[in-house]
């Protein structure tokens, strides 16, 4: 993994990136070892660098920044075993969560049977490995225990301890801390922070765009607040922040007014919460803006300096204004205002700007170009929870709004920087990001460029969804780049999409879109053209799948369709593979009306002509039979041709007559 020859140099570079000078620089450039004579003069020229305090993870981060992501390898979290490399989204999710489930099981045993894990062989003892102390009847309930639970974010335990404690015995500071704690988490127990995978897959589930009221009315937070004899401003602040965070805007607004009426000054976090709910407590855009301005003036009056989260809250509130022009003008004004006091926007600010400027039905706006220019120059540090939503939204805008592939690539380069990779958010945002990126490429790029990026991303970094994969195949087919189709087919099988009808449809369509065998490449008899081999593989794959499903009596949504068989037959004829083409026609003949779409008449004609060429009257009769069955107009001319140009024996003659007989009667009837 770490065979980089320049590793030392890289680490060195990283560690001293922020230092003013490299250490031990001799200005004179002479030898480092001082000789006796010049010692006194040399020492004056030594520049001793300032001491740079290092955190415990700095050296590790420096080392990590030297390792780039290897697109040819599965993610680090998966087992390094060929049989356990996942390709489909489902497998990726299952494997990762299964591994975590094992970790959870171990954790559970550690908790349930803590007495088995009493050995302490590390000195000093590593607290993270200690089994958690269980709350039992005999556990001494103290205020310190409550503080500990608050600090480690164990909500259920903290609430339990608080309930057991004598409320008079709790100090006001702890009570305030507990109120903030309960308000922040809204009494919901939190996922153990060690379970990275579960959080990675879970966080995408909840739609964060819509504000839903999840605040527990008359819950513990309000009870704690009411139990306070003297309501402090901090208590008001905590309650207001909690309500605003969990979507109870009206309640937060009431307490805010109550607080102001009592003459308390809200703090910065509270002001930020008020900006966030400004759009809900004031319906009208004009009033909303007035409320924002008024609150800002209050802050100025109180001497509270707004920070970047203030900016983001204001922009979030503006992004909900439905009138495009108003939202646009106000947001730009706010940006200028905050620039004047030196508050730089974070990625979250840009996220809301995109929401304001690039609306679905609004005019096309190029604000993202300016944002990317800025980000390439300087990446703001992580400051707001909304920061992680930026990249997915920006790529969505690139795809659906601007359709700018160059910009999308620049954005992707930004994300690929080692220090930015964590900003992707979670699995849901990641899949939105890559979906939009790949969809944009399918529309804007030629097959070579598209496939280059496709190979880079798929399947280790991203597994395309069905629709995205279809778009890729269609894009390749549109340019008749048939030579890519075999690769796509093997990917489809690899990603568990080989049994989906729509995927098979587009793949076969793509295969048949070519112009036939390239006479230069196929010289050897044994060397089968990959396109033809793919067509045979698909046929065998589907047949096999259907057979297995039938044997096991399993219902399957996959069926042969007329267009699939048509494309196959067309391809086999193109490549002169008569036997396979015959097999297809036999399939058509047996399935007939069970086919969900018609076998294309053009291909049928082509096949028929080849039958006549080969004097294969049996197959020709089958083709005629199908044509008659489906009521194609060509059937009569085909029959005529058969009589004239084919040598039919008596039975075949008879059959032809019977086929034609049925058509003439049907045509008379109609």
């Amino acid at each position: 993994m770490m065979s980089c020859p320049n590793l030392n140099a890289l680490v060195w570079q990283h560690l001293f990136r922020n230092a003013r000078r490299l250490p031990f620089v001799w200005k004179s450039g002479r030898s480092i070892v001082p000789n006796g004579n010049s010692f006194s003069t040399e020492t004056k020229e030594i520049v001793i660098p300032n001491y740079i305090p290092r955190g415990p993870t700095d050296i590790l981060e420096a080392l990590a920044s030297t390792v780039k992501r290897d697109p040819t390898a599965p993610h680090f979290k998966f087992h390094d075993d060929p049989y356990l490399i996942p390709a489909s989204n489902h497998a990726k999710r299952t494997y990762a969560l299964a591994q975590e489930a094992g970790r959870k099981a171990a954790n559970w045993i550690k908790h349930e049977h803590a007495e088995l894990f009493q050995h302490r062989n590390a000195e000093p003892f590593i607290q993270a490995f200690a089994p958690a102390e269980k709350l039992t009847e005999t556990t001494p309930i103290t205020e310190d225990l409550l503080k500990k639970y608050i600090h480690t974010a164990q909500v259920a335990n903290a609430i339990h301890v608080y309930g057991k404690l004598d409320s008079a015995a709790i100090s006001p500071e702890t009570r305030q801390s507990f109120l903030e704690f309960v308000a922040f988490y809204n009494e919901d127990d939190q996922l153990n922070q060690d379970f990275v995978e579960e959080r990675w897959f879970k966080s995408g589930m909840k739609g964060k765009d819509q504000i839903r009221q999840t605040w527990k009315n008359n819950g513990l937070a309000e009870a704690v607040f009411n139990s306070m004899e003297r309501k402090t401003p901090e208590a008001y602040c905590a309650l207001i922040c909690g309500m605003a965070k969990h979507g109870k805007a009206v309640g937060a607004w009431e307490y805010y007014n109550q607080m102001l009426a009592e003459g308390f000054a809200p703090n910065l976090t509270t002001y930020n919460s008020i900006f966030k709910i400004a759009g809900i407590v004031r319906e009208d855009a004009e009033h909303q803006i007035r409320l924002i301005d008024e609150t800002l003036r209050n802050m100025v009056h109180a001497g509270i300096k707004p920070n970047v989260r203030t900016l983001n809250s204001i922009l979030e509130s503006i992004s909900r204004i439905p009138i495009y022009r108003v939202a646009r003008e106000k947001s730009l004004q706010v940006l200028s205002d905050f620039k004047s006091i030196g508050v730089k926007p974070s990625l979250g600010s840009y996220y809301f700007l995109l929401k304001i400027f690039c609306r679905e039905k609004g005019p096309i706006n190029n604000i993202l170009v300016g944002i990317v220019n800025r980000l390439e120059y300087e990446m703001p540090p992580l400051q707001d929870l909304h920061d992680v939503a930026f990249f997915a939204e920006a790529m969505r805008v690139c795809n659906y709004h601007l359709e700018d592939v160059q910009l999308a690539k620049r954005l992707h380069d930004l994300l690929c920087l080692p220090q930015n990779q964590a900003l992707i958010g979670d699995s849901y945002k990641e899949s939105i990001y890559y979906r939009c990126f790949l969809l944009l490429l399918t529309r804007a790029e030629g097959p070579e460029a598209l496939m280059e990026m496709y190979r880079h991303l798929v399947p280790n970094i991203y597994t395309p969804e069905q629709s995205v994969f279809e778009a890729v195949v269609k894009s390749v087919a549109e340019c008749s780049a048939v030579h890519y189709v075999p690769e796509l087919w093997s990917d489809a099988v690899y990603m568990d999409m080989g049994e989906r009808e729509s995927i098979l449809e587009v793949l076969l369509e793509a295969l048949a879109s070519g112009s036939g065998p390239d006479s230069n490449t196929v010289s050897d008899k044994d060397d089968v053209d990959p396109v033809l081999a793919t067509a045979r593989a698909i046929t065998a794959h589907v047949d096999n799948f259907l057979q297995v499903a039938e044997e096991k009596n399993r219902p399957t949504p996959l069926r042969w369709t007329g267009s699939m068989l048509g494309n196959l037959a067309k391809l086999f004829l193109q490549y002169g593979d008569v036997a396979s083409a015959n097999a297809i026609i036999i399939k058509v003949h047996t399935l007939k009306n069970q086919l969900s779409s018609f076998f294309p008449v053009a291909t049928l004609n082509k096949f028929y002509e080849s039958c006549i060429e080969r004097q294969d009257s049996a197959m020709a009769l089958m083709a005629i039979d199908y044509a008659v069955e489906m009521g194609y107009d060509e059937s009569s001319s085909m029959a005529k041709q058969a009589r004239e140009q084919l040598k039919l024996d008596e039975r075949q003659q008879e059959k032809l007559n019977s086929i034609l007989g049925s058509t003439s009667t049907t045509s008379e009837e109609s």
């Binding site: 700095d58 050296i59 993270a128 704690f181 922040c241 004047s340 604000i367 992580l382 549109e478």
Partner: protein, 361 residues
């Protein structure tokens, strides 16, 4: 090059007509109009054909768009040996060099039209002219037509010169075009144009500030201390969790473990986490004799034993100083309890002769 030759040929026709008959100018103009209208009609017809072909031969069409490429191909064509001929589907025969641009001259596909040499309208015009100058009616008409035919031939030849559209060549060109692998860049699927005009933002900070902050005096501490310590702590925690993803390599894994407190931290330090021991000096571990001073006799078997104990303790790395002291004190209490026996055996002097219980003199 085509338009110029075309223009000159038309010019020639005009001059010829003027010189020969000195007819009224406007009449000629009218005739010219006639002529061009036919041309246009032909082109339109051709155009509709092209649309059909367009889908079939995208790549070829694109190729055809570029005049230079055409000229190059032509040169290539000339240099090609006849042996490389190939039979190609007939549909590609028509696909040669069909530009979209209307202003371009007609294509070799229109050859049939020009094979009639002179169009009926033109013939009619000639008829009309000769009728007007009724004298040498027939002779004039014939010579006029002959001239027109000459001009038509010549202009036709000039127009098609770079193409040399004989069947052989056309097929060669087709074969060449078919073997070319053209990078088929697809046209973008344009979404329906939005109703509103695109808005360009040159500078994000271009707007005039509202001036809310113009006279603001902020108390610096206020932004640092929000007054909700727990809330801020929890927010920071959530922020960190938002960028904590499954580790991407071994170093990331170690970073995560370090943050969770599961591995020792860098920089390497053998005494990491031994905070209590750090408070205690080395000498307190090693020099334990002062702890004997208050109670131990200065000489005798007890002293001798206790010195051995102290030496042993000073070399023991596993006990804390507190434990060592405790150990010593245990012996003190032990000897205290066995005092009578010790006195009897003479291990320590009698209590009556020495006042101090510790017997330290």
């Amino acid at each position: 090059m085509f338009p110029t030759s075309m223009a000159t040929s038309i010019q020639n026709t005009k001059m010829l007509l003027r010189r020969a008959f000195s007819v009224k100018r406007n009449e000629i103009l009218a005739r010219n109009l006639c002529f061009t209208r036919t041309l246009n009609a032909n082109e339109d017809q051709d155009k509709s054909k092209k649309v059909v072909e367009e889908k079939k031969n995208k790549a070829e069409l694109k190729e055809a768009k570029q005049k230079e490429a055409k000229a190059k191909l032509n040169m290539l064509l000339e240099s090609m040996s006849k042996t490389t001929q190939k039979a190609y589907p007939s549909e590609s025969k028509l696909s040669l060099a069909t530009p979209k641009i209307r202003a371009k001259p007609a294509k070799p596909v229109k050859q049939p039209v020009f094979n009639t040499k002179i169009e009926p309208e033109m013939l009619q015009a000639v008829e009309d002219v000769s009728n007007m100058l009724s004298k040498e009616n027939e002779a004039l008409k014939n010579s006029l037509i002959a001239k027109l035919e000459d001009v038509a031939d010549e202009s036709e030849r000039a127009r098609l010169e770079p193409f040399k559209p004989n069947k052989q060549k056309t097929e060669d060109l087709n074969s060449l075009l078919n073997t070319l692998k053209v990078d088929g860049k697809k046209p973008k699927n344009k979404s329906p144009a939005p109703k509103l005009a695109p808005v360009k933002i040159e500078d994000m900070y271009g707007a005039q500030p509202s001036g809310i902050f113009s006279k603001a005096h902020f108390i610096e501490e206020s932004s640092a201390v929000s007054g909700l310590a727990t809330w801020d702590m929890l927010y920071e925690k959530e922020l960190e969790l938002a960028v904590t993803h499954p580790p991407a390599n071994g170093f990331h894994q170690m970073i995560q473990w370090t943050k969770q407190g599961k591995v020792w931290q860098f920089p390497i330090d053998n005494e990491q986490g031994l905070d209590e021991e750090a408070q205690v000096g080395f000498h307190e571990h090693v020099f334990l004799e002062p702890h004997l001073k208050p109670w131990c006799p200065r000489r005798g078997p007890v002293r001798h034993f206790m010195e051995l104990v102290v030496v042993g303790l000073s070399k023991n790395p596993y006990l804390t100083v507190e434990q060592k002291k405790e150990h010593i004190n245990w012996f003190r209490d032990f000897f205290e309890a066995k005092r009578s026996i010790l006195i009897d055996t003479g291990a320590i002097p009698d209590i009556t002769t020495k006042s101090s219980p510790s017997l330290s003199t």
